[in-house]
Every structure is written in structure tokens, then in C-alpha cells.
């Protein structure tokens, strides 16, 4: 058995923080992505432009740099706002940064998924006299998920791995806890291997779950036909 | 049916090497499905053999077995006197490739290389398989393009050509290897009706040159005109064969009769 030298609890706490961060960013990021996709289909040009700017910038700048900007920039902004030194919570900054990153990629996934809904479905909804809100809620969104699922799955796997970056600004996640353990025991090989193993475990579980979800979505389609 | 002694004589007598194709008792099984149940066939030099049959009768599989795109389960094949497929045993990859270079295959779906121009498609194999100099290969390709009527399309990509033009380019590609035998796998089945004629015209001109050809086709009138031997496949076996005039006028097998009337009933020839 691997000797954790008493750091087992700490690593478990870190792993829990990692998952908490990832799930929080996923939930918020999906909302941002949906709004982004709607913005990209907006009738107003300025909103479309803004959405384009958002996705282009976020996808062209390293995630680490975005985290640094939000963390240190946030600290400076809060300090000016309150007149005294305020340090931004690493968890909040981290979730915020990952939400922004995830949201940008999810915007593109949702945009493509909405486009994949056959236009005949939308025309049928219009012919039935459905209101715009009803049309989105009853026709487009339910069908869009199936097309969005594979892309979102990929983004989730990326998100899970990107949480490790928040350790750089001090979030006590799996990565940070293993770094501390590796530093104090002078055994980085073991501890980073454990971290790698845990991340691999999370991604593998996610893959199994995603395959199952995709199969469910496909089955729904076959029944619908 | 050949006896075993005739068979062994066949392998040693040099004059036999002039026979372009000889197949004995070829069998192919996919899982538990017998697709070919023992086909024997001989093509003399200059023979044009048409292979007819309803879909699923194994005629395409037969062609694909000849150039070993499918590995036959059993049987023997001689190409230009060379024994390439012995009972249950295939030659080395080098032998297989040498055999394939002697057989020109024309596919139903053309299978031109989409990122190469027509000319590049034609000179690719002569340069890299036969080792011909590029200049010479280009010269010969130009002649072939003239022959199939595509001289002005040499620098076009396959996607920019019509189906008929693509199939003619594919024929030129097969001819560039100077094959002993040409195998046509339903060459006009994927074409729009108005494009069938131009491809058949090219195939007919090749027959007139005295090339040895095996043609799997649904074009009964064409098969009757162009071939000197017709074979009818049914469920992986040769049901009936003979000279086309004889065969079409007085079909003996009830299945071939049925096939003919069904085809004519559809208004084909």
C-alpha cells in the first residue's frame, strides 16, 4: 500500500474541493453558454458582436492568464472599492474564471446544437401559433440537448482538468494539497502520481457517465421516431 | 471439370502461361454465409466475359476475390500462368501486389483519389509501383486521356467531374498499369442514365482492341453486344454460361429465364 504519511485526509478534502469547483463552474457555465448562444442569434447586431468578442477573446487567451487577471485584478478592484486591502476568495475567483472559460466554449457548442434542430420543427411551432418563449421551451431546447451532449462532454473533461490551474492562485484543491504534501514529505513522485491517478479516475467515471447519457439521448430519438 | 493430372500439367507447361486468367473451385465464406460455392472460370486472351446475376449472387465478391481485395476461403487462381492463390494459402504481400498490378480494377463508385488531379491519379501507380519515369508516365497518361476523351480535364480534380467523366478517368487509371486483364465491377451502376453511354462506349472500344476483360454488369444489351461469353451467377454458383447469342435466345435454366424476363420487364434492354 502507498504510504500517504498522514496526508490522506488532506488529499480527500482537496479532491472534494476540486469536484465542488468543477460542478459549480459547470452549472454556471451552462447558463452562460445558453445566454451566449442566444446572444449570437440575436436580431441586434451589437449583441451579436459582443458575444463574438467574448468567445474570440476567451478562446485566444490562456486559461491561466484569465484566472490571474480575475484573481489579482479582482483583488485590486475590491481594494479600491472598499478603501482597504481585500483579498478575493480563491474559490470564488476560480469558479468565476472557469465559468467564463467554459461559457465561451459552451456558447459555440449550443450555437451549433441549435442550428442542428431541423428548421421544419421551428416552422411547425410557428404554424401552431406558439409564442416565442413556448417555442424555445417546448421545441428547440429539448431537441438541442441531444446535439449538444457530445460537445459538452468534451468541455466537462477539459473543465475537470482546468480546475488544477486554480491551485496557482491558492485554492486548496487536489492539486494544491498534493503540492503541499509533496513539498513537506520530499516525495513529489508519489504524491503527484496519486493526484494524476485521482484525476484519471474522475475523467474515467465522467466518460462512463457521458456514454450512458448519450445512449439515453439516442434511445429517446429512436422511440420518438 | 478438370482432372487433377490436367491441373498439374497446367502449372508446368509454359504455353499455358499465355492464358491470362484461370480460376478453379473458388470459394468465399463470410462468417456462416457461403457467398461463393466453388466457381471455376478460364479467360483466354482477348475474351470479354460478362458476369450477370441478381444482387447478392456473389458476382462482385468474385471479382474482389480475383485481385484478393477479399481473401478467398478456398480454391486456386492463376494469373498469366502464375499460381497466386493455392488451396487456402495466399502468396506473400509482394506476390499479392505483383498480382494486383496485373489486374486492372474499375470500381462501381470510381474510387478516384479525391485530392489528386486526374493526371496525378493516372501516373501515381505507374511511377511508384512500376518505377516508370515521371515524364514517360505523363506522356502515356496523356495518350490514355485522349483515348477516354478527357484530354482537356487532366488538371481537374475528381469532384469537378461528372460521374461518367470520373469513371472514364478511373478506366484510364487502370489502363495505365498495362494490365493483363481488366475487371469491371458494375461500372455504370452508380451513374445517371444519360451518362451510362459514354462509359460503355469506352469499354466497347477496349473490347475492340482485343483486351481481356471481365465485366460485372446489369446492362443486358451491352453484355450481349460486347462479350463473347456470358456467365450467369446464382447464389454463389455458375447457373448457366455460354455464348451470348445462344444464351439469350435459348436460356435453359429456369432461374436465368426468370432473371431475363425480370430485367426486360423492368424495361432495361
Amino acid at each position: 500500500m502507498i504510504d500517504l504519511q498522514g496526508f490522506g485526509d488532506q488529499i480527500a478534502v482537496g479532491a472534494f474541493t476540486t469536484l465542488r469547483t468543477a460542478f459549480a463552474s459547470l452549472a454556471l457555465g451552462v447558463c452562460v453558454g445558453l445566454c451566449g448562444a442566444l446572444a449570437k442569434r440575436s436580431r441586434m447586431r451589437i449583441i451579436r458582436r459582443l458575444a463574438d468578442c467574448y468567445t474570440t477573446i476567451v478562446r485566444g487567451v490562456p486559461e491561466l492568464l484569465i484566472i490571474l487577471i480575475l484573481y489579482f485584478g479582482g483583488t485590486v478592484a475590491m481594494t479600491t472599492l472598499f478603501g482597504h486591502y481585500v483579498e478575493v476568495d480563491a474559490f470564488a475567483a476560480g469558479v468565476f474564471a472557469l465559468t467564463i472559460v467554459f461559457g465561451a466554449y459552451a456558447t459555440e457548442v449550443f450555437r451549433a446544437a441549435i442550428q442542428a434542430v431541423p428548421s421544419g420543427q421551428i416552422e411547425a411551432a410557428q404554424a401552431l401559433g406558439l409564442s416565442k418563449f413556448c417555442m424555445w421551451r417546448l421545441v428547440i431546447l429539448p431537441q438541442m440537448w441531444r446535439h449538444a451532449l457530445p460537445g459538452l462532454g468534451n468541455l466537462w473533461l477539459t473543465l475537470l482538468k482546468d480546475t488544477a490551474l486554480i491551485s496557482v492562485v491558492g485554492l486548496e484543491d487536489l492539486m494544491r494539497k498534493t503540492s503541499i504534501a509533496a513539498g513537506s514529505t520530499h516525495d513529489p513522485l508519489t504524491f503527484y502520481s496519486i493526484a494524476a491517478g485521482l484525476y484519471l479516475f474522475f475523467t474515467s467515471i465522467s466518460l462512463v457517465g457521458l456514454t450512458w447519457l448519450e445512449r439515453c439521448a439516442e434511445r429517446g430519438v429512436r422511440f420518438a421516431k | 471439370m478438370l482432372t487433377q493430372s490436367e491441373n498439374s500439367q497446367f502449372q508446368t507447361v509454359p504455353s499455358e502461361s499465355r492464358i491470362p486468367l484461370r480460376v478453379k473451385n473458388l470459394k468465399k465464406r463470410f462468417g456462416r454465409l457461403d457467398v461463393l460455392k466453388g466457381i471455376s472460370m478460364t479467360a483466354q486472351s482477348g475474351d470479354v466475359i460478362s458476369i450477370l446475376g441478381s444482387s447478392g449472387s456473389g458476382k462482385s465478391t468474385f471479382l474482389r476475390c480475383l485481385n484478393l481485395l477479399e481473401e478467398p476461403t478456398d480454391g486456386e487462381i492463376w494469373i498469366a500462368g502464375r499460381h497466386v492463390k493455392a488451396r487456402g494459402r495466399l502468396g506473400s504481400p509482394r506476390e499479392v501486389n505483383a498480382l494486383r498490378a496485373k489486374l486492372g480494377m474499375v470500381f462501381q463508385h470510381f474510387n478516384l483519389w479525391s485530392c489528386k488531379t486526374v493526371l496525378e491519379n493516372i501516373i501515381e501507380a505507374p511511377i511508384h509501383v512500376l518505377g516508370i519515369a515521371k515524364q514517360e508516365a505523363c506522356l502515356r497518361a496523356e495518350e490514355l486521356l485522349l483515348k477516354v476523351g478527357l484530354a482537356d480535364k487532366r488538371h481537374d480534380y475528381p469532384a469537378h467531374l461528372s460521374g461518367g467523366q470520373q469513371q472514364r478517368a478511373a478506366i484510364a487509371r487502370a489502363l495505365a498499369m498495362e494490365p493483363e486483364i481488366l475487371l469491371f465491377d458494375e461500372p455504370t451502376s452508380a451513374l445517371d442514365p444519360e451518362l451510362v453511354g459514354e462509359v460503355l462506349k469506352v469499354i466497347r472500344s477496349l473490347a475492340d482492341e482485343g483486351r481481356t476483360m471481365l465485366i460485372v454488369t446489369h446492362e443486358l444489351a451491352f453484355a450481349r453486344q460486347v462479350s463473347n461469353h456470358v456467365v450467369f451467377f446464382h447464389q454463389g454458383q455458375v447457373e448457366e454460361e455460354g455464348h451470348p447469342d445462344e444464351l439469350f435466345r435459348r436460356p435453359t435454366s429456369p432461374r436465368f429465364k426468370q432473371f431475363l424476363s425480370a430485367q426486360i420487364g423492368e424495361g432495361c434492354p
Binding site: T56, I57, G60, V61, P62, E63, L64, L65, I66, L68, I69, F72, G73, V76, P150, N154, L157, K161, D162, A164, L165, S167, M175, S179, A182, P188, L189, Y192, S193, A196, Y199, L200, S204, L207 | N67, L69, R94, A98, L99, R100, A101, M105, F107, F110, N111, L112, W113, S114, C115, K116, E124, A125, H128, V129, Y157, P158, A159, H160, A170, R173
Partner: protein, 252 residues
């Protein structure tokens, strides 16, 4: 916002940019060099190879790059035979650690992207090559690889941009590339907005250059595609994109 400061730090950041460019280009080049044979073996009919290579890509794509980087940078020194070998003189240097990790990571992703492209090559085109007597190696070199590359190009362009972004992790092992330089300047000037945003703009510029270059390469390579009926071609592209994005995932 202090524009004067942004102008001031630009030369310093550009120095960091040089190291970022070096790391990115070298990792992409080495990654591609490793990925081509691996992708071929991954699609080969021998299960021993395809399984072993799948394990490699699974490990590298299933764990964060940061963990891999720390494992190499901090962990390699613990292994006795590495310490006593010639490689140790390299693995002591953060630059080489970063380059090795990035190259292996990039190779893993590129292998799967190329595999998707190779699988999308129409089987008829491969059969035509077989039927003309082209041996396996020749088929790979003249027919399958060129066609597979074309099909994988859009996904590969994405991967190169991701590598550029991933190179920022080198700053965590003391390398003074663009992000590292920016962090150092922020620690001295306490003005994160100006410095980090300048750095972000440089990254954006670099991303645009990469996207533009690949875009030009794609249009040049797309000349063989159908002009008259764009619908047909876009269908093929959609199919290919589907195959490739499916292979993007950690598992098949």
C-alpha cells in the same frame, strides 16, 4: 488604466513572448513528429500497438497538464536511474522539463486527431490503391496520410492554439515566458490589469496569426473540393468533424 505603463512593459513582455513562441513551436513540431507514427500504429490492425498507444493517449489526455509538468519537474529527480543517467543534466533544467512534457502531451492529443482523420479517409480510395498493387507503406505515404492530414487539419489547427495557451503553464516551474514575465512585472508594479491585459493581447495576436495561417493552408488544400455543389462537400466535412470530435474524447 495606465496606458503609459502598458507601453512600458511591452518590450519586456515581447521578450517573454519569444520563449513562449519557442516552447509552442518546438512542442508542436516534436509532438507531430511523435504523433504521425503513433496514429498509424493506432489505426493498424495489430491490437498490441493500438492498445498500448491508446493507454498512452488516455493517460496524457485524462490528467491535467499541470500534474504532468510537476511530475516530470519535481518527480524525475527521485528516480535513481534517471539521476545517474545523462538525461539528468537535461531534466534538471525547467526548460527541458516543460518541452518534454508539452511535446508528449501534444503528441497524445495530435495522435487522436490524426487517427480521426485517417479513419475518415474514404475506404474506396484505399481499395483503389490496393487494387493497383501499391504496397502497404506506399499506400500510407502516398494516399492515406495526405488525405488524412487534410481531413484532420481544422481540428489540428485548434490543437496548435491550445498548445500555445497551454505553454503558459511553464510559468509555474519558474520559466520566464510571456505569462511568467507578466507575473513577475505584476509582483513588482502591483498593476495587474495593465500588465496581464497587455499579455492577453499578445496571446490573442499570436492566436490570430496561427488561425490565419491554418486558414490559408486549408483554402489551399481545399482546391480539390467541389465548387459547384457546396452542400455535398459540407456534408463530408460534417461527417469528418463528427469522427474527429468523437475521437477527441479521452476514450474511443
Amino acid at each position: 488604466m495606465n496606458l503609459a505603463l502598458m507601453v512600458d512593459v511591452l518590450p519586456l513582455l515581447c521578450e517573454g513572448m519569444l520563449l513562449t513562441a519557442q516552447l509552442t513551436l518546438a512542442s508542436v513540431a516534436i509532438g507531430l513528429f511523435i504523433a504521425v507514427p503513433l496514429a498509424l500504429l493506432r489505426t493498424s490492425p495489430w491490437p498490441v500497438f493500438s492498445h498500448a498507444i491508446f493507454l498512452y493517449t488516455f493517460l496524457f489526455r485524462g490528467t491535467p497538464l499541470l500534474v504532468q509538468l510537476f511530475l516530470v519537474y519535481y518527480g524525475a529527480g527521485q528516480v535513481e536511474w534517471i539521476r545517474s543517467s545523462v538525461a539528468w543534466s537535461m531534466l534538471r533544467e525547467p526548460f527541458w522539463c516543460a518541452l518534454i512534457t508539452f511535446s508528449l502531451n501534444n503528441a497524445a492529443y495530435t495522435t487522436e486527431i490524426l487517427r480521426g482523420g485517417l479513419r475518415a479517409v474514404p475506404s474506396g480510395e484505399v481499395e483503389a490503391a490496393k487494387a493497383l498493387g501499391m504496397p502497404y507503406a506506399l499506400r500510407i505515404r502516398r494516399i492515406i496520410l495526405p488525405a488524412g492530414f487534410r481531413l484532420a487539419l481544422p481540428a489540428y489547427a485548434n490543437e496548435v492554439v491550445l498548445m500555445l495557451k497551454a505553454s503558459s503553464l511553464a510559468s509555474t516551474i519558474t520559466l520566464m515566458e510571456l505569462t511568467g514575465t507578466a507575473r513577475k512585472i505584476v509582483a513588482q508594479t502591483f498593476s495587474p490589469y495593465e500588465v496581464f491585459i497587455s499579455a492577453a493581447l499578445i496571446y490573442l495576436g499570436f492566436t490570430f496569426v496561427i488561425v490565419h495561417l491554418f486558414g490559408r493552408l486549408e483554402t489551399r488544400m481545399a482546391k480539390h473540393q467541389k465548387r459547384a455543389e457546396p452542400g455535398n462537400n459540407s456534408q463530408l466535412r460534417a461527417r469528418t468533424a463528427g469522427i474527429i470530435s468523437a475521437s477527441q474524447k479521452v476514450a474511443p
